[in-house]
Amino acid sequence: MNLVRICLLLIFCSCGSDFSPYGDPVSVLALPVRPKPEWPLPRWKTAVPESTGVSIDGLHKINLYAYPVDQKDSKSKGIKTNALVIVRDGKIIFENYDLRYGPDHIHLTWDISKSILQTLVGITINKGLLQLEDPGYYHLSSLSRDEDHKKITIRHLLEMASGLSAMESYEFSSLNSTSMAMLYTKGRENMGEYCSSLPLKYEPGTNHYLSSCDTNILALVLKKVYDSQTYSNLPWKELFEPLGIQNATWERDRSGTFVGSSYLYLSARDLAKIGYLYLNNGVWDSKNILPNNWVDLTRTPGKVYKVSPLKPELSTYNYSLHWYVNTGVPDRGLQQPWPDSPNDVIASYGKGGHLLFVIPSLDMVVVRFGDDQDSSFDKNYFLKLIKESIVR
């Protein structure tokens, strides 16, 4: 009898944690508590590296890797860095810029824009105007073109799992590249509309494919959620101004929708503030900018990782909600993308070698704006150098 009761109890307890058909999510530890964090309002404070437990020698090695001695403008290959900022304990402990850039100089962030668009989605969810599991067509009529498109949810778009037949390529030889068409030719009038008109290649939520289209559909969804004026001011009023970011440009398509996939410009120092928001669990100066569980969701590989056909890029990307994580997905045999660094790293990166690392266990945020022409910049090695620079 007792055994039956125990069995019933176990069945009852497991009801709330059923993630079928996805299986259990990858578990992430709670973010470390940061007592009395420093708020860089309006500007970052600086500190001597040793005072925050970082060795000068370690930073020298990081700098040497990011700025090789043979770095030249005309160099067509290898590592080229425009800006590098390292934050620890809420203070800048290291920054270096090449001759054309400085602390306040804005830089095209390319794909990192996607992660900041995710921040705007989080802000909108926090306001109760959008739900993660909402079908997109609730807000965007062009996603109601047929029953299959109607299945695409906000979560699918954030996980890059819409299933739309996009082709992400920036080569001019790729005649069928939807990213090129979206940015430069037939999609440029209204990128979100163009993208949502693409046919489905996979059932939504079953296949991961990194696509700028998914981001720009989200940007258009946000436009439909707000009125025109509120939408135009959204990044500034709800994100940049609270964080003390005074110098930002976010380009739009011809319909006035932000190009969420690609065209946000920020300084390296200000991009570090976005990272710092995530390091502080979505809280800024005692105010909840993001929903309570948003950063934990951002730190967890997407649900699509449980069902997507296995392919090498799953491990390379280890994608969550428009950010990259370093957890791996052990029960699918997917390793950490950066095995020599802490597994709690979350990252945003993209074209040109731009990157934003948030490392909660080291209490660090790192920003690099690159101008790489190839893939020789090794993120794992760079993160290893960062980890090794910590002495306490």
């Binding site: 054309r100 830089h107 095209l108 001019f172 430069y184 037939k186 009038e189 976010w250 319909s255 410009y265």
Partner: protein, 121 residues
């Protein structure tokens, strides 16, 4: 032998012709993609990131070795002509940076409310 060569050439011609017909829309847009890329990224590099014109050409031309262009620093626009495809990008404002003019080929994906400020003059 001559017949075989003729058939081979004819087959190649038919394959290429078929491929061209199937991809005509993309092939036609190719020059516009190049010029739009050059205009937009040069406009943003110069007017938004405020880098020197020479450096902007270096950054953008890296991918596009051939282009003719014009830049108006007063009116803040960039025009590029590549293989007959002409594209213009205009600087809008500090907040919204640069945007390309209307796409000259068929436009299928337009919302009802196009911002008037973005319309081509």
């Amino acid at each position: 032998m001559k017949k075989k060569l003729l058939y081979a050439n004819l087959s190649l011609f038919l394959i290429f012709g078929g491929w061209t017909i199937l991809n005509w829309s993309e092939i036609r847009s190719f020059p516009f993609a190049i010029s739009a890329y050059y205009s937009k990224e040069l406009c943003s590099c110069f007017f938004v990131m405020e880098l020197s014109e020479m450096h902007c050409h270096e950054r953008v031309r890296r991918f596009i070795p051939f282009s003719t262009f014009a830049i108006s620093k007063e009116e803040k626009w960039v025009q590029t002509n590549s293989l007959g495809g002409i594209s213009i990008a205009r600087y809008q404002s500090k907040e919204f940076g640069c945007v390309l003019d209307e796409y000259p080929l068929a436009i299928h994906f337009r919302e009802n409310e196009i911002d008037t400020e973005n319309k081509s003059p």
